[in-house]
């Protein structure tokens, strides 16, 4: 495709090599500016925020987003804020949790640069052109960008700039990056560092999927138009390359799988065992994806031949129309925006359709404004009054009995009692009551600690078996010690907020 831009591509930019290197470094430097800026601007915030190291929080945020980036979506905004909070809280433990959240949010929003219309940053730097003239240029970049996810949600992703400058140079070459990830994995496993190994395995899978995606694009394009894809050289080469890749990776990952299985079976620490088991699942998924890629590769040839037959014998359309992309959009994009606007304006003026201008008479307007709103009439048929039949009370115990039992079990926290004594007392009040008391006591043998903890209960009924046998005419078993435990409601509430902010990652702090 001839491109109008090739005409203007005479060696303008190269200039002195040193100058180019300087520009590159200036750009790299510019990427760090927003982080320094955070620390410089925290003094302007309403409140005493100088204790927080904003650049540190920002780097942590970029790391978090980078690590959470999934294949096709990214990190969730709120989740990143929540995960940042422990670090923010550690910087100023005395401050309220709301302030920590505000700081985390402020940092994240500033990394996105919510205030600007582009949601990005701009730095100005100067270079010498080929003709020796000094030109100031704008360098636009983003650190964290927002991308659309499924269902209209918005996800965060770190940009190449952020990854290259702020996370560390990442090799973007698909194959070599995968090899690197796998070497890392093997080293990590041999050193027994499984937590990091899992991360590396997930990265390896990410690369694998990307590889399959490249192939899928070529195949789908073939389905649309055989001639759009170079089936003489490019695609066969790619298929061979990909088949080699699959064979290689398959061998490699099976070796890893054997290793991790061994690590899983030999691991004594339950946490290691669990991690290793997870890792086995991930590597299995990698292998599954390789197999998938391979079967797709094998389908590629027949698909090409079938599509060639189908498309070659389809009747061609008599007249060829305008190629909107090739003849309009593609030549337009390299133009300076000032000139390109003339074309888009022309398209807009003729391509948007028409609007009938509203014509309002003053008389109509007054009438419209004074008309009371219409009552809705289409509410459907009237609902028949439901005929309710009172169901007979069929509970084993009445409300009054429950109250009596609970009153009996409302023990002071420093004076637990034997179940036999409670049963005897209950029997004196009501012959049915002992059954309810026994039931509640048995329940208390496995007290719902988790629920009480979540609901912030003040006290909790518990029952313990100390081996004494119950001597009762109606019941048998252990003579439980029933007592009430006081719970530290305030402490639990504090714990809960910390845990909530730590997100749903690991339910620690039981």
């Amino acid at each position: 495709m001839p491109h109008p831009n090739t005409g203007s591509s005479r060696p303008v930019a190269p200039g002195p090599a040193a100058d180019e290197g300087l520009a590159r470094r200036l750009k790299a430097l510019a990427c760090t500016a927003p982080l320094h800026d955070l620390d410089a601007r925290k003094a302007n915030l309403a409140g005493e925020y100088s204790t927080y190291a904003m650049a540190e929080v920002a780097l942590a945020a970029i790391d978090l987003v980078t690590l959470t980036m999934d294949f096709d979506t990214g990190a969730d905004h709120d989740q990143i804020v929540a995960r940042l909070q422990p670090r923010v809280a550690a910087q100023a433990p005395g401050r309220p949790a709301e302030e920590h959240e505000r700081v985390a949010r402020w940092v994240l929003e500033n990394l996105i640069n919510v205030g600007s219309v582009d949601r990005g940053f701009r730095a100005v730097y100067g270079t010498f052109g080929a003709d020796g003239a000094y030109v100031r240029r704008d360098y636009d970049f983003k650190l964290i960008e927002e991308v659309p996810g499924p269902g209209g949600t918005v996800y965060l992703r770190t940009t190449d700039e952020a990854v290259n400058v702020l996370v560390g140079a990442l090799d973007t070459d698909v194959t070599s990056a995968q090899i690197a990830a796998e070497v890392k994995l093997e080293v990590l496993i041999s050193r027994g560092r499984l937590a990091d190994a899992q991360l590396a395995a997930e990265q390896a899978r990410y690369r694998t999927v990307q590889y399959a995606e490249t192939l899928r694009r070529a195949l789908e394009a073939t389905r649309r138009d055989v001639r759009a894809v170079d089936w003489l050289r490019a695609v066969p080469d790619m298929i061979n390359e990909a088949l080699d890749h699959v064979a290689d990776r398959y061998r490699h990952e099976n070796a890893i799988l054997t290793n991790i299985r061994k690590a899983r079976d030999e691991a004594t620490e339950p946490e290691h065992k669990r991690r290793a088991a997870e890792l086995v699942d991930i590597v299995k998924d990698c292998i599954r994806r390789h197999t998938q890629l391979q079967s797709r590769l094998l389908e590629a040839g027949p698909l090409f031949r079938a599509e060639q037959d189908r498309q070659a014998f389809a009747t061609p359309v008599a007249r060829a129309g305008l190629d909107l992309y090739g003849q309009l959009l593609a030549p337009l994009l390299p133009l300076p925006v000032e000139r390109a606007s003339r074309v888009t304006d022309a398209f807009f003026a003729h391509g948007t359709g028409l609007r009938t201008p509203p014509a309002v008479r003053v008389g109509d307007l007054i009438e419209t404004l004074l008309t009371p709103p219409l009552e809705r009439e289409h509410l459907g048929a009237e609902m028949p009054e439901p005929d309710l039949v009172a169901t007979p009370e069929d509970s084993r115990f009445s409300e009054a009995q429950l109250e009596a039992a609970l009153e009996l079990l409302d023990l002071p926290h420093d004076a637990p009692r034997r179940l036999s004594g409670l049963l005897a007392e209950a029997r004196r009040r009501d012959p049915e009551l002992p059954y309810l008391v026994a039931l509640l006591a048995v329940h208390a043998a496995s007290p719902p600690v988790g629920t009480a903890y979540r609901q912030g209960e003040q006290r909790l009924l518990f029952a313990v078996d100390d081996g004494a046998e119950l001597d009762d005419p109606e019941f048998g078993g252990a003579d439980l010690i029933v007592g009430a435990a006081l719970l530290d409601a305030a402490g639990m509430a504090l714990d809960r907020t910390v845990e909530n902010t730590a997100g749903k990652d690991e339910g620690h702090r039981e």
Binding site: D72, D138, V154, V174, M238, G326, L333
Partner: protein
Amino acid sequence: MDDGENLAPAPEPEAVRPAAVTPADAADAARLVAFGLQPKLLPARDAEYAELIRRHREDPAFARLADAVAAGLGLVVLEVSPRAGMAVAAGEDSVFAVRMGDYSRRAASDSSDRFLHGLAHLAVAALAFPRPADLADDGYIGRITVNGVDAFVRQACRRLEERAEEQGENSDPASDAPGLEAAWRVYARRSATGATKDARRLAGSTTGIVGKAVAFLVDSGFLQRTGDESGGTYRTTARYQLQVRDLAGSAAMAELLDLGVVPVGDGTASLLPPGEGDEFELVAEAGLPFHGS
């Protein structure tokens, strides 16, 4: 208005002459144009409209009368058919024309916003009719998604960026001449989406701009919404194809030629899949045409 019998080889050539235009005919012709001004209305849905369309096709005198009414209102008649109805488009200075300032207030003052809104409309059309044959084929129905349009333009921008890098060009614009910034760069640096307080699309983001464009085209009777996936999925109507083929495409083309850019096409599709090393970011469920169904 003259009858011109030689243009109308009707079965009874002499009978046409006495049938001069009556006020009732003029009212019918104007009524047909009025139907045409309701772009979402289809002849198949309205018996009177269908009858007037039939009369336009069978009665040359009536057809000329209706066309004249349209021309007098500043409208261009693209086609009169049962599938598209009376497809009329607004002439440049017509009261029915849409002006950029009414379309988006920001676009009126900000040149890069103005460009982005125009580009969004062009990109929607380019993706709705990816091959020249699709635009020419009357039976073709294009399907687009908002995220797909955005991803498709972004990919094109990305390729230009890569090419500029390969050639060692410095694509960063000079600070004092923002108008000389390459067009693709304006799009590339605008964010694709953004979180807002009320969970609506960020109006200034590129998906917001594309979303506005498709919503407007729905109101123009050019697109029909078919679903909510990928930021909204839409299919084209016959009117849109006519408008793009007969009016917008050629107008934009004329402007491009005027700028001295002469793109050469041989009638084959130039919308190619990305190259192997092309690692552009996939938008979730973008549903690009080069990704198949």
